[in-house]
């Protein structure tokens, strides 16, 4: 991956078509020319992959002191005194000749080709082609499109053998499951028989294919490029925050394309992020508010907003309230809900994390690293989840950096991850003993503590208490004081939610309740005194009858909180459940009042990624039915409760955030409230801004909260009869974004418990047998699968795979989850 920005150290003088340009030392001629406004045609060259000189389309006349000669500009680095002619007769003839040859076998079935209208072959034939062909012979024929995976189709007739998809699969994704087969006229891209191109990143090959050879099932024959409307946005499937172009036609989302954001995704997307647009336009979306049928508790009956909001307001008035969720929201939504909870409901019981994350104060106070920092650090210490499964594009970036030896990955993990293969060191950790294991690894190799160290910190095991991670961070802070941290929390805008105060201990701007009280009392009028409860605390309180109303703010605790029993008791213990969501999830179906929220690409705003980078969310389609933006729901509820958030549009909220939230006091220009006001189609965007946003110049800006690491606790001795459970997430699981997207829903593997084959033999089991798994909570039946990469004494299970989830077995209060397996 040629990084233009990083090689900008010195310049060389190059002349292109008689014009002097400044090119960077080490830059490829084709890139330097493009940067200076001279487009050289190309098919195989891609700025994020190493050049191969495969298609020869970029031939130009170059003189490096030995006279003019045709050279492929994608394979040539600029040098001082280089003379280039991209318009000479010879260059023109070469480029025309290449196109004539590429079209020898190309079927020219453009009228039925999905690429038509956005096809580099079409465009460049028009711009640089000969206009006619001398070939009269029959073209090569292959079976038209063959599926090479569940999602991607290959039409070999259209292929021009540019090596982009195969190079991507091998060099970028690390999944060389497609390759050139045969040679000469027979050369074709294929998979191995019966070994499909099952890569988490396969959709990228469709986007970078310069012809219509690769097409993706969700978009095949759905639209023509000239019928598409487009808005640039940010993917919120996970919290990496990849740049994405959202495309729709006739008010229906049809496609996401990766946008190259140098700091984040380099143009790549994972398949889940790329194809879960289907869930936005799903017929299952909630279209209208609903109330529980008083005669039949199992049924929700549609109603109009007024009665639903009134009912919800009644449930919130003078009651003990807990609000769970909020990572789905935009920053502006989150701010509105944070303000609503604190000033109108009067509670700090609000938590965007679902007992599957980390201490928000820790996350907010750790010195931050960027993705670039991680990719160029001397050492990346990984004490978090399998990034390939949870933050796939971060995996891609780290994998690329490790392969190019720009960084060294040291992993401390309970079970192998997608990065294990690329890690310089992979240390096995015992569930529950992370802090001790981190300490031991640093003892064994003190060199790991020197140089620039970036720690990627998250929850590798939801069956162990987060305190093991917090203690491990404490060890790292003591041993590597200069280390910076990149939090690996998965949920879409969890970082933005924390920044906006959707967490019991922090007010917007990552300030603690104590430090921020004066500032926010001034800005908001009031801040509740009582300390708030986090999700686990709220669920405990609810099960004990100490919470009357539970608000599920885009949360599905039944499947997401890793303690099913606790959630069930909590839901049974509250008198009213209010759900604000896109779908009737398992938890939403239990609610008394359901308020449909607008979803992705249905509202403008901003989102914050794991680095703390704030980027824009574009609005392109309208919400289904009468669904509304989350901030509007907060504002409506506030009004009914006799309060006033003073927020009437996304622009209003953005403006208030910019004046009130300490960490957002100087927003980046492109995300300023003015831009958002212009771009936002939601709510009142008129300029008669007579309402004053609160300004508090007399008080010192409160400082972000500090965090004190807990001391290392004693390790619980292992029970030699028990196995320790590792509960992890997979990219494709039973969560709504996947489950409501038909193209990827079936890719979720059904639940199984993975265990070393010797343990399996010891128990007299064979693969596929159902076993009874018993923890302190319950016994469940689940099939076993052998996996020799897992240590003995440990079993691995998915948190939310179709079937049965690990949440059934986990007790949030225990440090580790010990289980026993019995044959049935």
């Amino acid at each position: 991956m040629t990084d233009v920005n990083q090689s900008a150290s010195s310049t060389v003088a190059v002349t292109i078509n008689g014009v002097d340009i400044d090119a960077h030392q080490g830059e490829l001629l084709i890139a330097a020319a493009e940067r200076n406004g001279v487009y050289i045609p190309r098919f195989c060259y891609h700025p994020r992959m190493d050049p191969v000189g495969m298609c020869r389309q970029c031939l130009v006349e170059v003189d490096t002191g030995r006279g003019m000669a045709l050279q492929p500009s994608c394979m040539l680095t600029v040098s001082d005194g280089m003379q280039v002619d991209t318009e000479s007769e010879k260059t023109k003839r070469a480029q025309e000749g290449m196109l004539e040859l590429l079209l020898v076998n190309h079927p020219l079935d453009c009228p039925v080709c999905d690429k038509g209208g956005e096809c580099p072959l079409q465009d460049q034939t028009l711009a640089f082609g000969p206009g006619e062909s001398r070939m009269v012979e029959e073209k090569r024929h292959y079976e038209k499109p063959i599926p090479i995976s569940d999602i991607v189709f290959l039409d070999r007739e259209r292929c021009v053998l540019c090596d982009r998809c195969t190079r991507f699969a091998k060099d970028v994704a690390g999944d060389p499951l497609i390759s050139f087969m045969q040679r000469g006229n027979e050369t074709q891209v294929l998979t191995f028989p019966d070994d499909p191109f099952n890569s988490y990143f396969s959709g990228n090959t469709v986007q970078i294919c310069p012809v219509g050879a690769l097409t993706a099932k969700p978009y095949r024959f759905r639209a023509r490029p000239w019928d598409l409307e487009e808005v640039e946005s940010t993917c919120t499937t996970c919290s990496v925050g990849c740049g994405v172009a959202v495309q729709a036609s006739r008010n229906e989302l049809l496609r996401y394309q990766g946008v190259d954001v140098d700091e984040v995704n380099h143009g790549w997307l994972c398949d889940k992020g790329r194809f879960d647009f289907e869930s936005v336009s799903s017929a299952e979306r909630l279209r209208t508010p609903m109330l529980k049928n008083p005669d039949d508790a199992a049924e929700l009956v549609g109603t109009e907003w007024n009665s639903a909001l009134n009912a919800a307001a009644d449930a919130l008035r003078d009651r003990s309230v807990g609000i769970i969720g909020g990572a789905r929201l935009t920053n502006e939504d989150a701010y509105a809900w944070s303000k609503f909870a604190r000033t109108v409901v009067g509670t700090n019981n609000i938590d965007a994390q679902l007992a599957d994350g980390l201490d928000a104060t820790m996350i907010a106070s750790l010195p931050k690293a960027t993705i670039h920092d991680a990719c160029s650090a001397d050492t990346v210490l990984l004490i978090g989840p399998d990034l390939k499964e949870e933050l796939p594009v971060l995996f891609l970036r780290l994998r690329g950096a490790a392969e190019k030896r720009m960084t060294k990955i040291v992993e401390i993990t309970t079970a192998p991850t997608g990065l294990t293969r690329y890690a310089a060191e992979s240390h096995t950790s015992t569930p529950g003993a992370l802090a001790h294991d981190v300490s031991n690894v640093l003892d064994a190799d003190p060199s790991l503590t020197t140089g620039r160290v970036v720690v990627i910190v998250g929850r590798a095991n939801l069956a162990a208490s987060p305190s093991e991670v917090e203690e491990a961070v404490g060890v790292l802070q003591r041993r590597i004081p200069a280390a910076t941290y990149l939090p690996a929390l998965r949920r879409g805008n969890v970082m933005g939610a924390i920044d906006m105060g959707l967490t019991p201990d922090l007010l917007p701007g990552r300030v603690s309740l104590e430090v921020g009280r004066e500032w926010f009392e001034n800005a908001w009028g009031t801040v509740p005194d009582a300390a708030g409860l986090d999700t686990a605390g709220m669920l405990e309180a609810a099960s004990a009858g100490r919470i009357d109303t539970l608000v599920l703010l885009g949360a599905d605790p039944i499947v997401d909180v890793p303690d099913r029993d606790l959630v069930e008791r909590a839901l049974a213990g509250v008198s009213t459940i209010v759900a604000v969501d896109n779908f009737a999830t398992t938890s939403v179906r239990r609610a008394d009042i359901v308020l449909p929220a607008s979803g992705y690409a249905e509202k403008g705003g901003t989102t914050t990624n794991i680095e703390g980078r704030v980027s824009a969310l574009g609005q392109l389609v309208t919400p289904p039915g009468t669904a509304r933006a989350d901030w509007m729901i907060a504002a409506e509820l506030a009004y009914r409760l006799g309060g006033d958030l003073g927020l009437e549009s996304v622009g209003d909220i953005a403006a208030e955030i910019a004046t009130v939230v300490p960490s957002h006091l100087a927003p980046t220009p492109e995300l300023s409230p003015e831009t958002l006001l212009e771009e936002s189609d939601v709510g009142d965007t008129s300029d008669d801004d007579d309402e004053q946003v609160p300004v508090v110049p007399s008080i010192d800006v409160p400082a972000p909260a500090g965090w004190v690491a807990p001391a290392m606790s004693e390790m619980k001795p292992a029970d030699s009869y028990a196995l320790r459970l590792v509960a992890r997430r997979s990219l494709y699981d039973a969560a709504t974004a996947t489950a409501m997207s038909p193209s990827i829903a079936h890719l979720a593997e059904s639940a199984a418990i993975r265990i070393h084959s010797s343990e399996l033999a010891r128990l007299g089991l064979t693969a596929g047998d159902h076993v009874n798994v018993t923890s302190s909570k319950t016994t469940i039946a689940i099939p076993v699968a052998p996996d020799d990469s897992i240590s003995r004494g440990v079993v691995v299970m998915g948190v939310n795979q179709p079937g049965v989830g690990a949440g059934e077995l986990i007790d949030l209060r225990s440090a580790v989850t010990e289980i026993q397996l019995e044959t049935r």
Binding site: P176, I178, S179, F180, Q182, R183, L190, T191, F192, D195
Partner: protein
């Protein structure tokens, strides 16, 4: 999954150990697989992929570039008759027609007893000896139709078994490096170091001396 027999599996590990990177052993292992089965089966490619830390797609992609790796079943003896200029002028077409009649298969086909595969080949670089053919890549020069019949009879009767091994066997003498003389594979991480011959040259040069 186990394609290689015990002896070849041991050999495969030995071959892999010769290279700084496992991937480099891919083509030698394809030869070994072809030697064992006469052609390269899907099982073989899957096993090679795991031995060289690659994917079956890459193994097939690499192997299928080469004409001499066969990815479909071929006979014990693959007969390549040259059809290029010199051979054609000296009767290659007649020879191929005769071969097709004699074996009862078209060029490209394999006899039903699995003994012979007949192929039309490009120039075999023995134009002075035209018409030529190769049996499992062993040359036969100035082949007449009578010579061809005699060859087929001899092969069928097993008379040439010493001269021409079954398809896939490259050589009967195997490369072997005695352990006491083997320096082992270089460390791939050393690629930024100067080549070994430069280092050893510097050591050989006497102290203070110069060329």
């Amino acid at each position: 999954m186990s394609f290689f027999n015990d002896e070849n599996r041991k050999l495969a590990d030995e071959i892999v150990a010769r290279y700084p990177r496992r991937r480099s052993a891919m083509i030698p292992l394809l030869h070994l697989a072809q030697e064992q089965a006469g052609w390269i089966t899907q099982d073989a490619m899957q096993e090679i992929a795991s031995l060289v830390d690659s994917t079956p797609a890459e193994v097939l992609g690499t192997g299928s570039f080469y004409e001499m790796f066969k990815f479909h079943e071929v006979g014990k003896y693959v007969i390549n008759i040259c059809g290029t200029m010199s051979c054609q002028l000296l009767g290659a077409d007649d020879l191929i027609h005769h071969a097709e009649e004699r074996l009862g298969v078209k060029a490209g086909g394999t006899t039903s007893d699995g003994m012979f595969t007949l192929e039309r080949a490009e120039c075999q670089a023995a134009c002075t000896e035209a018409p030529t053919l190769q049996i499992n890549y062993r040359y036969k020069y100035r082949v007449s139709t009578t010579d061809f019949d005699r060859l087929v009879d001899q092969l069928a009767a097993g008379a040439l078994v010493d001269e021409i091994p079954q398809h896939g066997v490259l050589a009967r003498v195997r490369q072997s490096i005695p352990t006491d003389r083997s320096v082992g594979a270089a460390d791939p991480a050393d690629e930024n170091e100067p080549p070994v011959w430069m280092i050893s040259g510097a050591q050989l040069r006497p102290e203070g001396g110069g060329a």
